[in-house]
């Protein structure tokens, strides 16, 4: 900050417009700097609080926090993040796999296929999906989707049971990873579709025309000009969606049966996630239990941070690419 002042004093500060400009400058700079510092302060306070609460619990842990599957901080004090982290990542990845093709398809339809009269309302409708409270999605999942999925799950298991994801003996269907994944997919669909649509609309007209003038059909034009141009944006949209899916709490807390195990079988009734476990366990947790849940929250925070950083990196690389274009 001192350097800036020096420059201003050294510069030609004689003209009237310069002095007038600097008149409003000080309070504004104070306000914006203050807001920035405050934000950093709040972040730091949260981090200090979380770490401070988590450390005693982690000290008391009789298992290995990173690999242990069980979660019993209140009595035996053996607990670990293994099963929860696995459930979080698997359910979110499943949601992403389901949501991506639909979201990109919807975005392409809105940006390049739909007549303008239809494109507007459709885009609005997709955005509206994001406005539905997550508890509604959870209730819908439990009351409607879970019974609905029973027969298709049985069929998948009978037909493709050799495939690890669809394997499983005994009970098939019910509160499964698949049900959770589908609900999460619907929840992250709006953000992925909205960002992808924006990216697809930004494709320069001249690139699209270049493809069309070569005799490309509309789909070929999309493959030649739109998708390659939009790829980094779509990837970062997917990362943002993934981050949301991992942090989602109440919907998955309602659907997942809170089991503690590592299994890729998405058709059998099992599943849990870090966020769901916190929502389920915070009420009756003791001191160590609370600290343990907070520690699990820290792990979730780190995972989502990594995902977001990856997204950021991709966006930045794209910016450099754009610079090379001009």
């Amino acid at each position: 900050m001192t350097i800036k002042t020096e420059i201003r004093e050294g510069g030609p500060a004689t003209s009237r417009s310069a002095s007038r400009r600097s008149h409003g400058e000080a309070p504004f700079r104070f306000l914006s700097t203050g807001a920035g510092v405050l934000l950093l302060g709040i972040m730091a306070a949260i981090a200090v609080f979380l770490i401070g609460e988590a450390i005693p619990a982690l000290r008391a842990d009789k298992g290995n926090f990173l690999t242990e599957l069980t979660w019993d901080p209140n009595s035996s004090q053996v607990f670990g993040i293994g099963a929860l982290a696995f459930g979080t990542v698997l359910s979110s990845a499943l949601a992403l796999v389901i949501a991506m093709p639909i979201a990109v398809g919807v975005a392409l339809f809105i940006s390049h296929y739909a007549p303008r009269r239809l494109a507007g309302p459709l885009g609005y409708l997709i955005d509206l999906l994001a406005a539905v409270p997550s508890v509604i999605y959870g209730l819908w999942g439990v009351a409607f989707l879970v019974p609905l999925l029973r027969e298709p799950s049985q069929w998948l298991n009978d037909t493709f049971g050799w495939f690890p994801l669809f394997a499983g003996e005994g009970a098939i269907g019910g509160k499964t990873m698949l049900a959770g994944g589908i609900v999460l997919a619907i929840m992250i669909l709006p953000i992925i579709a909205a960002i992808s649509r924006e990216v697809f609309l930004q494709v320069p007209k001249m690139n699209e025309e270049a493809a069309l003038a070569l005799g490309a059909t509309r789909w070929e034009m999309i493959r030649m000009a739109v998708l390659p141009f939009g790829r980094p944006g779509v990837i970062s949209a997917a990362m943002l969606g993934l981050g949301r899916a991992m942090g989602e709490t109440i919907a998955v807390a309602l659907i997942f049966p809170a089991t503690f195990g590592i299994s890729f079988q998405i058709l059998t009734p099992q599943g849990n996630s870090i966020a769901a476990n916190i929502a389920n366990g915070f009420g009756e947790a003791g001191d160590i239990g609370r600290g343990a849940l907070i520690a699990s929250g820290l792990v979730l925070f780190i995972i989502t941070l990594l995902v977001n950083m990856a997204a950021r990196m991709i966006i930045n690389r794209r910016k450099e690419l754009m610079k090379a274009d001009t």
Binding site: R116, P204, E209, A210, L212, A213, L214, G215, F229, D325
Partner: protein, 258 residues
């Protein structure tokens, strides 16, 4: 590999706005035809009706006939896609695909026509880049992005991309307006060479360019802003620039308006 275009009674619309009215002309094969005229007179619009790129814009439509060696491009069972494969186009601003390498840019149109062997693809890419006078400058960096070339090189890359699919006609919409004089000269030399194989139509704002490169010139004008553009006259370029038969042509060419 070069065909004649015959246009009769062509009107082009943007929604309810009529952009050009009653254009009729014959464009001869193996020659360069230039369209000149003030901005907004519809010459670019007319150019885009020749390969059905006009209708890409929502609400745009065309009435009238465009015959390519006698076949109506606007016939009932003619696909715009197949028209554009026969009639290539080069745009005002160089528009190589930004995510593709130099090689892939040239190969883009060829790959649309289905599977093609690697060796034939290599040959055609080399031949097209040589045809566009670009081969010597890029042969060592074919896998580098096309967007990394200079503006003039990019435009020649776009020409290579257009001629790679062996079109009958090459349409050029102010191909040099974004280029410096040296690059412009390179493109003009290239046009003179391409004329041996293709029917070339060029829209230009540069009167000297029209006089330098073209065999025939058409002058477009509009009565006033908002009225549709029309062809005022079309003739041998040498006669248009020395002894035009319309006052408006003479005024435009001598720089008294436009």
């Amino acid at each position: 590999m070069s065909k004649q275009i015959q246009v009769s009674g062509l009107d082009a619309y943007y929604g309810s706005h009529k952009a050009i009215e009653d254009v009729s002309m014959t464009i001869e094969p193996r020659s360069i035809t230039a369209f000149i005229g003030p901005s907004g007179c519809g010459k670019s619009t007319f150019l885009r009706t020749l390969n059905r790129m006009h209708e890409v814009i929502p609400g745009a439509r065309v009435e009238g006939k465009v015959l390519l060696d006698g076949d109506d491009l606007y016939g009932g069972n003619v696909e715009p896609v197949s028209v554009r494969r026969m009639i290539g186009m080069v745009f005002q601003r160089p528009n190589p695909f930004p995510t593709m390498s130099i090689y892939d840019n040239v190969a883009a149109g060829l790959r649309l026509n289905g599977r093609i062997s690697k060796s034939r693809l290599d040959d055609t890419v080399e031949e097209s880049l040589k045809g566009a006078n670009l081969w010597n400058e890029v042969k060592d960096r074919l896998s580098k992005p096309g967007a990394g070339l200079s503006g003039g090189q990019q435009q020649r890359l776009c020409i290579a991309r257009a001629i790679a699919v062996k079109p009958q006609v090459l349409l050029m919409d102010e191909p040099c307006s974004a280029l410096d004089p040296i690059s412009t000269l390179a493109i003009e030399d290239l046009m003179a060479k391409l004329k041996d194989d293709y029917t070339i139509v060029i829209v230009t704002h540069n009167m000297q360019q029209a006089a330098r490169v073209s065999d025939r010139t058409a002058f477009f004008n509009l009565a006033e802003q908002g009225k549709p553009g029309k062809v005022i006259e079309m003739d041998e370029t040498s006669r248009m620039f020395t002894n035009p038969s319309h006052k408006a042509t003479e005024d435009y060419i001598t720089g008294r308006f436009g």
